[in-house]
């Protein structure tokens, strides 16, 4: 039996929820558990996840944009960021491995996408090719989506085995996320989890968890505390590596376990 390959979309209704940071740190934790993991930054209009892996802009030979314009194969845009993300891993070691498929930071490229749009079907072919790629041989693919509800986001959600909806304890986030959650149900996403991030100190997290679960009728994978340290590390690496015992890291590990658990069960019942 071939190994199970799992697609995880992380999404938030608005920007500023800490989505990219959560995605990057989760992907690192999952890779560290002994897997080959990819992250694709589909937030083409405002890319940023590459910063967390210390990928310099000028070092980006190929990006997701090049793939979308037909200039390269998708796996050619994948960069092995294992050293920056995990540290000392033997070059020959099959696991853990982390690959990043970044979006271009070049303002002309971003302007081109905004002006001309791109073929959403091509993006989804890209997901498929990534999952099929023998070079990358991924176990997990994280899709860091663009905030809000639009065609490419919905299609990313639709092809995922797991959807992580990230929000802040904020009325607008709660309302907007309810719409996305309902659309995900309509699209029959097999596993949907809620994550509340930036929760102020002193909050009764258990009561908040119950409140969110009763509102969304979906399990809460984690309640992440408002984290001032993460702001300081933000542009200089991966938080879970630097602060392995921080409450944020501990809660994130629980989310990673849920991803691993859900990833090991079949996405669709087989006949």
């Amino acid at each position: 039996m071939a190994k199970k390959r799992t697609i995880i979309s992380t999404h938030s209704f608005r920007g500023g929820t800490g989505k990219s940071n959560t995605t990057a740190n989760l992907a690192v934790l999952v890779a560290k558990a002994g897997y080959r993991v990819g992250i694709i930054d589909t937030d083409i209009q405002s890319p940023g996840i590459h910063v967390l892996f210390n990928v310099a802009e000028d070092a980006l030979t190929h990006t997701l944009n090049d793939y979308l314009w037909g200039k390269c194969k998708i796996h050619e845009a994948a960069r092995d960021v294992t050293a920056a993300a995990i540290g000392n891993v033997d070059d020959e070691a099959k696991t853990p491995r982390l690959f990043l498929i970044p979006s271009s930071m070049n303002s002309n490229e971003i302007a081109k996408i905004l002006a001309e749009g791109y073929d959403v079907a091509k993006l989804n072919d890209g997901f498929q090719e990534l999952m099929d790629s023998q070079q990358l041989d991924l176990d997990f693919l994280f899709i860091d989506t663009h905030p809000g509800v639009n065609e490419e986001t919905l299609l990313s959600i639709a092809v995922s085995n797991i959807l992580l909806l990230i929000m802040r304890p904020d009325n607008q986030d709660f309302q907007g996320t309810a719409v996305t959650a309902e659309l995900a149900r309509q699209l029959e996403v097999p596993n949907m989890f809620m994550i509340v991030n930036k929760v102020p100190p002193g909050t009764d997290t258990q009561a908040l968890r119950l409140h969110v679960e009763s509102l969304y009728k979906a399990p809460v994978a984690g309640i992440l505390p408002l984290n001032s340290e993460i702001v300081r590390v933000a542009s200089a690496g991966i938080f879970v590596n630097r602060y392995p015992d921080h409450p944020f890291t501990i809660e994130l590990k629980k989310i990673a376990e849920k991803v691993l658990e859900a990833g090991s069960s079949p996405a669709t019942p087989r006949s």
Binding site: Q128, V149, V159, N171, Q175, E182, L183, G202, A207
Partner: protein
């Protein structure tokens, strides 16, 4: 759901413009809740469109029932009703153009929750969903042809994924 859990409910008075709760009443262990303008009601709403006793909520074996008692009646989704079974999140209006209320099962009553440092969980009251607004937005999106096409495309992609998985299975068996 156990009868005891059913007895833990909350009623929210909604701001008519935004649909946000502006006042919340929580009940536990009650079998009848009276709503009206008069002071002796369990939920008092001082509004000329509300009757002295406007409505009652009664806990029946199969859940909560809303019964109209006033002259102006009760509207559910814009339609006048004399009785209405209440599910979690159901909104209803006291008379035409009258105040809007939402019925909710609440997980834990405020006075029973032990917080780490005594924070009142009613601070989550602002963290709610306006179900009517959400349903409207969802209907608008899923009703469009784009969403239906998207669903079809998603099905196709899932099928492709399964084919790929089977192919990988087959390749693995060969090697």
């Amino acid at each position: 759901m156990a009868l005891l859990d059913k007895a833990k409910i909350a009623l929210e008075l909604l701001d008519s413009a935004q649909g946000h709760p502006v006042q919340t009443w929580r009940f536990e262990g009650e079998a009848i809740i009276r709503i009206g303008r008069a002071d002796e009601n369990d939920v008092t709403i001082v509004d000329p469109r509300v009757s002295r006793l406007h409505a009652e909520l009664e806990l029946r074996a199969d859940g909560w029932l809303l019964i109209s008692r006033g002259r102006n009646g009760i509207l559910v989704d814009g339609t006048a009703v004399s009785e209405q079974k209440l599910n979690d999140g159901r909104t209803f209006q006291l008379g035409p153009n009258g105040p809007m209320l939402r019925f909710c099962h609440h997980v834990q009553p405020a006075h029973n929750v032990t917080t780490i440092d005594g924070i009142d969980p009613s601070i989550f009251d602002g963290l709610n969903i306006d179900h009517r607004k959400k349903d409207e937005e969802v209907q608008e999106i899923i009703g469009g042809s784009l969403f239906q096409q998207l669903k079809l495309r998603a099905d196709e992609l899932r099928r492709k994924n399964q084919v790929s998985e089977s192919r990988r299975d087959a390749e693995d068996r060969k090697s």
